[in-house]
């Protein structure tokens, strides 16, 4: 059997989520798109549905202007445009989760605009601290699961859930290993492969994603030393599918060594400890959290500083899709905390775009040059 070229596979899948949905439809497997990484994939998967992450790809917003003002977040506008252009017509349903002031009305408007689409919402709490929000998250999840039964016709099978949890935890371990190997083999595992691999996990059935990723990470020796020549950058932000920032880091002699992105570590960090409904919910409450959620006043600051120290980060780029309020609120204090540790940072705000940008190149070059290893 011909040995697979994993980077090529990852590139192909991550560049075309719609083709992935179509391929499952040809196999007559039901597919739900989900808008946020707080939608608990394990439950959908265990109920026989393939969950596929929805990230806006449209860059020329026209039809969505009839629903959202120009000061609405790029992810919402872009995704709405995709749907209005019928890009996701093969989906069997769309699942939302509560996050921010833009996604919230997006759910309502989406439901109105596409009345024939099966749309459900997992209304997880904004508070992630303590047992009261956890108790609600479990109760709300059970309510949500009853609404999914309207589609599947049968309740969640706990034995199936336990099997699914093993697959998802495996996927998280593999991505964790890939991130660690990237620090040792930055040439063979370029920065963009981190993003592409996370997107593969978000777009493909996890069993398949694991089957492709596992031999690739197994092919590297784990005891090799970490690279010490490249400057280490950490990306912090919301969702991103633009590879340019990763490529520019590599090109200028640095690397994206780690991240706190929804299309990165936030997605796969933290394992499910117990294969039950409560155990799975607990993982989503405990994982590194989105800026729209609250654990305590310093939880994100603490987490970023710990990660930066662990990865020996030389600089941080706050990479935000425009009009993302929760992240913009956090930025000045996070920057201050990094300044306090002597870690330089820069904020770059972008509209959803897949095209190379001269401005981004200039900013990255200047930033990398100023970093010291």
């Amino acid at each position: 059997m011909k040995e697979e070229n994993y980077p090529e596979f990852a590139q192909e899948v991550s560049h075309d989520p719609i083709a992935q949905i179509e391929s499952y439809k040809r196999q007559e497997r039901p597919v739900f798109g989900y808008t946020c990484s707080y939608v608990i994939e394990e439950f959908l998967d265990a109920m026989g549905v393939i969950p596929v992450r929805l990230i806006g790809r449209a860059t020329n917003i026209q039809a969505a202007d009839r629903h959202f003002q120009a000061y609405c977040c790029s992810q919402v506008r872009s995704l709405m445009e995709d749907f209005l252009n019928d890009a996701y017509k093969s989906l069997d349903g769309v699942i939302f989760a509560h996050t921010c002031d833009s996604m919230q009305p997006f759910h309502d408007i989406f439901k109105r605009t596409f009345p024939k689409v099966f749309v459900k919402n997992l209304n997880l709490p904004s508070r992630l601290d303590g047992e009261v929000p956890f108790k609600y998250a479990v109760a709300e999840t059970k309510r949500f699961l009853r609404t999914i039964e309207e589609f599947t016709g049968k309740p969640l099978d706990l034995a199936k859930l336990a099997e699914t949890v093993i697959v998802y935890n495996r996927n998280r371990t593999l991505l964790e290993r890939l991130y660690a190997l990237h620090l040792k083999y930055p040439e063979q595992i370029p920065s963009r492969l981190l993003l592409q691999s996370v997107l593969v996990s978000q777009y493909r059935d996890k069993r398949e994603a694991n089957r492709h990723l596992e031999p690739f990470v197994d092919s590297f020796k784990v005891d090799a030393p970490e690279d010490t020549k490249r400057k280490r950058i950490m990306l912090v932000g919301n969702v991103n599918i633009n590879e340019e920032i990763y490529d520019l880091a590599d090109e200028f002699g640095a690397m994206i060594a780690d991240d706190d992105m929804c299309t990165g570590r936030r997605y796969f960090s933290t394992q499910v400890a117990e294969p039950t409904i409560e155990g799975v919910v607990r993982r989503y409450m405990n994982r590194p959290h989105c800026a729209a959620k609250h654990r305590d006043n310093y939880s994100r600051q603490r987490y970023l500083l710990e990660l930066a120290e662990k990865r020996r980060i030389n600089g941080v780029i706050f990479f935000y899709l425009k009009f993302c309020d929760p992240h913009c609120f956090d930025y000045p204090d996070l920057k201050k905390a990094l300044d306090g540790k002597g870690i330089p940072s820069q904020m770059i705000e972008v509209e959803q775009s897949l095209a190379p940008s001269g401005q981004l190149r200039t900013k990255m070059q200047a930033f990398v040059e100023m970093l010291s290893v």
């Binding site: 833009s102 009305p105 109760a139 006043n297 609120f329 904020m347």
Partner: protein, 408 residues
């Protein structure tokens, strides 16, 4: 036939009395340390009844933001926050609040420092982040009441969650305030709050009368006590008298404008720094804003003394801004009918995203179902930089033409 008398409304005893009430409120707040009272910053949709029952002074940064906006200090204070790295796309109340905290500049020379903060996210997710920022700045405890958005209406899970949080929050409030919570005092406060809410609802309903004795620009002004002093006897007494005065004007057909040719309903927060000019522009065309969705948001929660936590949970979890777009469509249609309106004006407010996103769909649907036209103007509640006189007045003029055509 209306008896036009703009002075009649201006001369109401309630106007001067309100100024005095608010001056006294801020003065007492600033001197809280003298009375050994703790200060709590609270969001406008927050459960102030708990604070009043504990003898804590509530302070509303949003009310202060409105004051900053009305005094046209918004842009300069927002600019201070922007210099600190806060994006101009963030809520202008928040930016102005950061600006006033750092500079102590504002119409009342800054808000008194909080001892702790109480944030209820039933109005937006913004307040959650805003209060995190300010709790770090002042290094004070932050207590959060999380009220999930009503995507699928009011669910039992949601009500239990909010109700459970009340039971959790009360001991925390006792700890930070150093005062003992008693249910007896709380029920007394809740009764005042209920009475004030009923009165406020009745006051707003007086504008169903044709001609309306006041506009929503006046209602924005009279709103301050129900927001800041809800749960006290002062508010109840004040609204009783205001209701009497406004009822007298309505009964005698005394209206502030010479002509009430077009009755309109307003959606979203006011543009605080343009109230006078907008009011004048509209009245020049014989248009009058007789009702609004914003002031009505404080007119419909009710605490039942038999089940105080459950009903308080329901009241706080289901306030207007926490309801889904479908409910907002129904509400707008109901208001247009109630106020016998000829159309509606929507303020697409860059600073209030949950209020503004959805407006484009609401506008289309309301017009489709009622046949009434709507106008959307893009501005900001506090930051003058996001406002263009010419552009907005041209749009108003065009809208009035549409209304005129419909008269024929």
């Amino acid at each position: 036939m209306a008896d036009q008398n703009p002075k009649a409304l201006k001369d109401l005893k309630s106007n001067m009395r309100l100024r005095k009430i608010m001056q006294k409120y801020y003065l007492k707040a600033k001197l809280s340390w003298l009375f050994r009272k703790k200060i709590c910053w609270i969001t406008s949709g927050g459960p102030v009844e708990l604070l009043i029952a504990l003898g804590v002074t509530p302070i509303y940064p949003e009310n202060h933001g409105a004051m900053i906006g009305a005094m046209k200090m918004g842009s300069e204070l927002c600019d201070v926050a922007e210099q600190m790295g806060y994006s101009r796309d963030l809520c202008s109340y928040f930016r102005a609040d950061v600006g006033q905290a750092v500079t102590k500049r504002s119409p009342i020379k800054g808000l008194p420092r909080p001892d702790f903060m109480l944030c209820c996210n039933n109005i937006c997710g913004t307040v959650l982040k805003w209060y995190e920022v300010q709790a770090r700045y002042y290094n004070v405890p932050l207590i959060i009441l999380d009220t999930p958005y009503n995507y699928d209406g009011e669910t039992p899970e949601l009500i239990s969650y909010v109700s459970d949080q009340f039971k959790e929050i009360i001991p925390e409030l006792e700890k930070v305030s150093g005062r003992k919570f008693t249910e007896k005092k709380f029920l007394e406060v809740a009764e005042y709050a209920n009475e004030a809410i009923t009165l406020w609802n009745e006051i707003l309903s007086i504008c169903e009368h044709v001609p309306a004795p006041m506009t929503c620009f006046d209602a924005f002004f009279y709103l301050a006590p129900i927001v800041t002093l809800r749960g006290t006897k002062i508010v109840v007494d004040y609204y009783k008298d205001l209701k009497k005065e406004l009822t007298y004007l309505a009964d005698n057909n005394i209206a502030p404008f010479p002509e009430e040719r077009f009755r309109l309903v307003w959606d979203n927060l006011p543009i605080w720094f343009k109230m006078r000019r907008l009011s004048k522009t509209l009245s020049n065309y014989g248009a009058c804003l007789v009702g609004d969705t914003y002031t009505n948001a404080w007119a419909d929660n009710d605490i039942n003394p038999e089940k105080p936590y459950e009903t308080m949970a329901r009241a706080y979890a289901t306030i207007y801004l926490n309801r889904n777009v479908e409910s907002r469509i129904e509400n707008m249609i109901k208001m247009l009918k109630k106020y016998k309106a000829h159309g509606f004006v929507m303020h697409s407010n860059r600073s209030c995203k949950p209020y503004s996103f959805g407006q484009l769909d609401i506008k289309d649907e309301v017009t489709r179902r009622t046949g009434l036209p709507g106008l959307m103007i893009e501005a900001d509640m506090t930051d003058q930089r996001s406002y263009s006189d010419e552009q907005i007045e041209t749009r108003i003029q065009a809208f009035i033409e549409t209304l005129k055509e419909r008269e024929v």
